[in-house]
């Protein structure tokens, strides 16, 4: 039943060469195809890795298995129709990728959204940031083999998602932004029309209560994961990205901040009223996997701070500015970027006038964050591959668009 090599052709040649190699007692690198279906590639990423035993000598990411052509789709859709698509780019934080697009359209069209809408956008963005980071802090130990943190953090994330659902009607894809403000909250219908023109009653109080529980979840993570010796053994010093390399490869968000660069778009550009809330930019030191985990955990706490301040400061007023029903945007171009939970997320819109953009360029976060994989994985071990890949926290929909 043993393997019979074919007598002729390419395979025979390969077999002969393999025999020759084994006779000389040399070993050959093995090509290990990781993905597109693999438990820890977060979807359909494929990595073609050359491994010498457990040591990775080279790795090449193959992307595009999830390409949905959003940039092209945008050219045949009106601006209002696009809001349903842009929140599907990074589905773990749908709202956060909706906001820069809608702000870009508002800038092009010259519409000023009311302040209350801006504050609600800010709160929802932070809720999605908390939800996204909770997914990371729960699933990252899972990739290292620890099962329990997943359930503890996901339970509190569920509370956050319930709040988002109460507000927007959707858990992942809110499609809540409208040009000129936000959509009237969920629970509408004819009879409740007047009531539902604002955020649901008691919602802000519920958010406050949920924030307490989120802080509890981060404390749980602290006791179960942050100080865990085995987690430290697996992550400290693994996958180090120095600050200059991180900037070179265009990393952003927590991945960049973990390398010690305190750069946060929320402190740079104020499309949303981030200038009126106080929070710290968390940055790490070594840029290793542990720092990337730690930065995200701390950012949850900062987001909670922001949300609690925003609840105090949210002004009264309308939710939506007056915008024409058929929106015609003048000629022009604009680039708006925002701090997505995963990093810098931007939209470049070129308008030739009319209802549709002439061209939309999406600067998606995960695509840039993933580009460092070949550099950082070189020389790592196969178990480190999982640890490093997980710590970069990318979403494949965000990579392929």
């Amino acid at each position: 039943m043993s393997y019979q090599p074919p007598a002729t052709g390419y395979e025979a040649l390969m077999h002969r060469s393999e025999v020759a190699v084994s006779v000389e007692l040399q070993t050959q690198d093995m090509t290990l195809n990781i993905g597109p279906q693999h438990p820890s590639t977060h979807g359909v990423l494929r990595l073609v890795a050359n491994v010498d035993g457990e040591r990775i000598t080279g790795v090449e990411p193959v992307i595009g298995y999830m390409h949905r052509g959003y940039e092209k789709l945008a050219e045949v859709r009106t601006y209002a129709q696009m809001t349903a698509l842009v929140n599907r780019i990074d589905w773990v934080s749908g709202f956060a990728s909706e906001v820069p697009f809608i702000i870009a359209v508002e800038k092009l069209a010259g519409i000023e959204p009311p302040e209350r809408a801006q504050w609600i956008r800010l709160i929802l963005t932070e809720l999605f940031r908390i939800s996204s980071h909770l997914v990371f802090t729960s699933s990252y130990p899972l990739e290292l083999g620890g099962v329990t943190p997943l359930f503890h953090a996901l339970r509190e994330r569920e509370r956050v998602l319930e709040l988002i659902e109460a507000m927007t009607g959707g858990r992942f894809h809110p499609n809540f932004n409208r040009v000129g403000g936000i959509k009237p909250a969920a629970g509408g219908g004819k009879t409740q029309k007047q009531v539902s023109m604002d955020i649901p009653g008691g919602w802000l109080e519920d958010v406050k209560a949920a924030m307490e529980r989120v802080l509890g979840a981060t404390d749980d993570s602290d006791t179960l994961v942050t100080g865990n010796e085995l987690i430290k053994a697996r992550t400290v010093g693994v996958g180090r990205i120095p600050a200059d390399k991180a900037i070179e490869y265009g990393l952003s968000g927590p991945n960049l901040r973990a390398s010690g660069v305190a750069y946060d778009l929320r402190k740079q550009e104020f499309h949303l009223p981030y200038d009126q809330v106080e929070f710290d930019v968390i940055s790490g030191q070594d840029g290793d996997c542990y720092d990337r985990y730690w930065v995200r955990l701390q950012e949850i706490r900062e987001s909670v701070k922001i949300v609690l301040q925003a609840i105090e400061k949210i002004p009264a007023g309308p939710l939506r500015a007056k915008a024409p029903r058929v929106l015609k945007v003048p000629k022009g171009q604009v680039y708006v970027r925002g701090e997505n939970p995963k990093g810098e997320f931007g939209y470049y819109i070129i308008s030739e006038g009319g209802q549709k953009p002439y061209r939309l360029k999406i600067r998606s976060t995960s695509f840039s964050n993933l580009s460092i994989l070949p550099w950082v994985l070189k020389g790592a071990l196969v178990p480190d591959l999982v640890a490093i890949m997980g710590s970069l926290d990318f979403v494949l929909g965000d990579v392929d668009r």
Binding site: E54, G146, L230, R234, D384
Partner: protein
């Protein structure tokens, strides 16, 4: 001797060992589902069987059996098919020498400990067979990891057991239990203690760490490592053969716990239980001790992530083996010089 006829006795013993092993393994599977669920704020299995989901292991087994028994095209079919049985057989065989009470032991070998260690390391061969014959790169890496890991941790395991054998002065498992039951004189007070409290605490810790590694359980489950190697050497297995591996894994957990309980915790013996009662109470005492050790392993699993392969080797060669050697020296010194 039960009936006096050799073949009838043999069949009864084989059936008994199989029933005990499979029964305990099923209980261990159920315990893992339930205990881990409660540690993770879940309920766990709930519907199967009508109450507490007690039938979940049976339902799982039935589901696996219904699946198609796949053999990959490039696989070495004979070895691929034989591998799970090698693993299960070596695990079952360990139950042969474990005494459940002074007389309830399938075979009381004089070299019981030796038999145990020899037979339980056969598992490695089964795992290597599975990894090599699957014709899958993940399986190959998992199999090789398992090979390296089991060799590294067989050593501290054997060394700690050697220390116990030195202290007991016998290799028979019944003899080791009796040595623990034998009273010792401390300041005119006559008490009997298990080896754990008679200076084998270091040995016990090393044994448990090495046993968890031998069983390839978290934090030492690199051969399976589903987030890296999908399922390691189990990747290509399905249906009944997967069930065999699965059952073998839990049976091995039980057998390792039984060995640890016998060597360090007094086996079927317990202080303050009269010797005449041991023959009836013994099995329950041993199973309770096994249950405590199994619970400990489940607890570890829901607390820690897995280590890396090089860290695991580091732990074995640089820490466990030197300490285990030192342990033998100390035990032998006390045995020869002090007592």
């Amino acid at each position: 001797m039960i009936t006096g006829w050799f073949w009838v006795d043999l069949i009864i013993k084989v059936v008994l060992v199989l029933v005990v092993m499979i029964g305990l393994a099923l209980v261990a599977i159920y315990a893992e589902l339930k205990v881990m669920a409660h540690m993770q704020n879940r309920i766990g299995p709930y519907y199967a069987g009508g109450r507490w989901g007690w039938a979940q292991p049976f339902a799982d087994a039935l589901k696996f059996i219904q699946k198609e028994d796949l053999v990959p095209a490039g696989a070495d079919a004979v070895i691929f098919k034989a591998a799970p049985y090698v693993v299960v057989a070596s695990t079952v065989a360990t139950f042969v020498v474990i005494p459940f009470s002074p007389s309830l032991v399938a075979r009381n070998l004089d070299l019981g400990v030796y038999f145990l260690l020899a037979i339980s390391s056969l598992t490695t061969i089964g795992v290597l067979m599975a990894g090599w014959a699957s014709a899958n790169k993940y399986s190959l890496m998992g199999g090789l990891r398992a090979g390296a890991q089991l060799i590294a941790y067989e050593l501290p395991l054997v060394l700690t057991v050697a220390a116990v054998v030195v202290q007991a002065g016998t290799m028979s498992l019944v003899g080791i239990v009796e040595a623990q039951a034998a009273p010792i004189e401390i300041g005119g007070l006559s008490i009997s203690l298990p080896f754990l409290l008679k200076g084998q605490i270091v040995g016990f810790i090393i044994f448990v760490v090495a046993a968890v590694a031998e069983l390839s359980r978290i934090p030492f489950d690199m051969p399976i490592a589903e987030s890296e190697l999908t399922m390691g050497y189990l990747t290509e297995y399905s249906s009944l053969r997967f069930t065999m591996f699965f059952l073998g894994e839990y049976a091995a957990m039980i057998s390792m716990s039984a060995i640890a309980a016998t060597l360090f915790l007094g086996g079927y013996w317990m202080p303050f239980v009269p010797d005449s009662a041991l023959i009836y109470v013994g099995p329950f005492i041993l199973v309770t001790k096994i249950a405590i050790l199994v619970f400990f392993m489940l607890w570890i699993r829901s607390t820690w992530p897995r280590l890396r392969e090089d860290q695991l080797q580091d732990l074995a060669w640089r820490w466990l083996i030197p300490v285990a050697l030192l342990n033998i020296l100390v035990v032998a010194f006390f045995k020869v010089v002090v007592f």
